[in-house]
């Protein structure tokens, strides 16, 4: 790829602050045809993406028997809004939700804090070995998680953490995700050194500089990380599945999956299930829409991580 003066603005991904004034240029008719066909394709693509979700919504509103009507009908005859109350109750949704919230918020805090600390050390402190450690951390991004499954399971079991939330939370407090360390370091590198120097002149130590100077400046970086960490933890299925035996400790991912993959022993009422599933989707959706800007930036940063 080439260097380009406005690469920063050009690479600034999807939601650009000002939409381009697409209508300002008078168009010849050929263009109108092309525009119309663009919209036709856009409509088709969008419906593929949205149709399953809309269908899910209609199932969530159907009565018990309507779900199993053959042939299925798109719209419910009567709307059962009470499914959104009864459904979650039937599958112990509130407890699963509470578990998920605790696990996720603790691991987000840990992941963000410890990655920012490591990123600070790697970017703003000069010490022998800092290059080496940087490559070590970046290199460990390449290690597939599957390698750790069995030894870590054994380790956590040996120290009595099986069937507790600790294996899901503590790793985040120990450096979390190497990717976050990388992102933190890259972001710290863009902060001018004169700021630290000024703080040092004022008598601040590293801890003070980190907490009172750096964290406020690097807000966009750790918000991105927090959003990503939230996603990872909220979505994580394999780890809670391995470590949590008691169903009252399950987070939403395992709880919801158990109702369809049969190991909870019963087929769910699909309308109840879909109503709960919609509620399960809401927090990430809300985060996405509130923090859309950061979110997509963070993800596109993932895409450019290894470019040099």
């Amino acid at each position: 790829m080439t260097t380009h003066p406005d690469v920063a603005t050009a690479a600034e991904p999807v939601p650009s602050p000002q939409p381009a004034p697409a209508t300002s240029v008078p168009r010849p008719p050929r263009r109108t045809v092309r525009t119309a066909s663009w919209y036709a394709v856009a409509l088709l693509i969008s419906s593929v993406m949205v149709l399953p979700i809309l269908w899910m919504l209609t199932i969530a509103l159907k009565g018990h028997s309507a779900v199993f009507q053959v042939p299925p009908r798109l719209l419910p005859d009567e709307f059962h809004f009470e499914n959104f109350i009864d459904g979650p109750k039937a599958i112990h949704f509130p407890r699963l939700l509470l578990n998920s919230l605790v696990i996720t918020s603790l691991s987000v805090m840990g992941g963000v804090m410890t990655s920012m600390m490591a990123g600070y050390a790697l970017s703003r402190l000069r010490f022998p070995g800092r290059k080496v450690w940087f490559y070590v951390f970046v290199g460990s991004m390449m290690l597939p998680p599957v390698v750790g499954i069995i030894p870590l399971f054994q380790l956590f079991k040996d120290i009595g953490w099986y069937d507790t939330w600790l294996p899901l939370i503590v790793p985040a407090w120990l450096g979390g995700n190497p990717l976050f360390i990388f992102l933190a370091r890259q972001y710290f590198l863009s902060v001018p050194y004169s700021i630290d120097e000024a703080a040092k002149v004022d008598g601040a130590g590293h801890v003070r500089i980190f907490f009172s100077v750096m964290l406020p400046i690097t807000r966009p970086a750790w918000i991105t990380m927090a959003i990503l960490a939230f996603q990872f933890s909220w979505n994580d299925y394999l780890n809670p599945l391995i470590y949590l035996y008691s169903s009252e400790k399950w987070p939403l991912s395992v709880g919801m999956a158990s109702f369809v993959s049969g190991f909870a022993g019963q087929t769910p009422d699909w309308n109840f299930y879909m109503a709960a599933n919609l509620l399960y989707m809401l927090p990430p959706l809300a985060v996405f829409f509130v923090a859309q800007r950061y979110f997509i930036q963070g993800l596109s940063a993932l895409g450019t991580v290894n470019q040099r």
Partner: protein, 328 residues
């Protein structure tokens, strides 16, 4: 050179910060305050690195050479686990087959569709942001939620998939309950989240300098020439990165086969028992069976070596595939 992540993160392109004055390198006698602070700040990450990267790597290599059920002490058996895998285990080769089929279907499709969608969305047209958001939407939703939704979509009797097919007067399918249609169905579920690939390609496309397009147009190049001669070479580094990421992700697919297979074991038959699921089934078996940590670790190492080879091969060939503007 190209957009660095800081630029992605919405930063104005700072001039590179001037590094603090160099200290003499061989200050062996006492630790500087920076060094002490640095290791203090890195302590959690260093502990994490040791416990979650170094330790498991060594330990699982050892497990793979033992017979071990997680309770008694491991007995060393040499390469017996690997011998069993390649010769006597009736489920190993089917699981390799399922994994490869999934990779072969998913990786090219997700790259091509992701790139096409990115090109499609890389236009300044009213509503394009809405379309991007909708394509990206499935990525935002929790994986388990989307997978379970699709499990119902694929229900042969009351599911949406067969309903849509019958509206279009197309033959219906058994989807997940057919042994030949199960993996393709899983690939469809995974492709629904192609927005993540698209967004990365889109970022790459938007980093292509527009003058190049203008110049090409002045030279009379058609859209196809522009795409293959300018766009594709310029985004080729991202392309390679995406190939690696997608291959590594696809090789480690677990959630979809686990949740979507009717028995949760990779059925029907062994049709969706991908390697990850095979590892899980041996390492963390359901009621009444004994955990085989040794055998599962051996499979972990087979999968790990495949991943290493894939990464190494891609890195090796990427210099040929990718365009670079550094004059050699």
């Amino acid at each position: 050179m190209t957009a660095t992540p800081d630029q992605q993160l919405h930063r104005p392109p700072h001039p590179p910060p001037h590094p603090p004055p160099r200290r003499p390198r061989r200050g062996r006698g006492k630790l500087t305050s920076d060094t002490r602070a640095a290791y203090m700040f890195m302590t959690p990450a260093l502990v994490g690195f040791t416990v979650f990267v170094v330790y498991p790597l060594i330990r699982s290599a050892y497990f793979s050479l033992t017979q071990y059920n997680g309770l008694t002490t491991p007995t060393f058996v040499g390469l017996d686990n690997f011998r069993r895998m390649f010769t006597t285990d009736p489920s190993f080769w089917p699981s390799v087959r399922a994994t490869l089929l999934l990779v072969v279907l998913y990786v090219p499709l997700s790259l091509v569709i992701g790139l096409l969608l990115a090109v499609f969305c890389n236009r300044r047209i009213r509503g394009v942001r809405m379309v991007r958001t909708l394509i990206y939407l499935p990525v935002v939703l929790p994986v388990v939620a989307t997978i379970t939704l699709w499990k119902f979509v694929f229900n042969p009797q009351v599911g949406l998939a067969n309903q849509v097919l019958s509206w279009l007067h197309l033959p219906t399918s058994e989807w997940l309950s057919g042994s030949s249609s199960a993996i393709p169905s899983i690939v469809i579920v995974m492709l629904w989240s192609v927005g993540s690939t698209m967004i990365i390609f889109l970022a790459a496309l938007q980093a292509v300098p527009t003058e190049l397009y203008d110049a090409a147009r002045i030279d009379g190049a058609g859209p196809r020439t522009v795409f293959f001669r300018i766009t594709l070479p310029l985004i080729s580094p991202i392309m390679v990165l995406q190939v690696v990421l997608q291959l590594v992700t696809a090789l480690q697919t677990f959630n979809q086969p686990k949740i979507l297979s009717p028995d949760g074991q990779g059925g029907p038959g062994f049709s969706t028992r991908v390697l990850m699921l095979s590892i899980y089934n041996h390492g963390f078996p359901t009621l009444g069976r004994v955990a085989e940590f040794g055998y599962a670790s051996a499979q972990v190492w087979v999968l790990f070596l495949v991943i290493v080879v894939v990464i190494a091969a891609t890195a090796r060939f990427s210099s040929i595939w990718t365009y670079s503007d550094h004059a050699s």
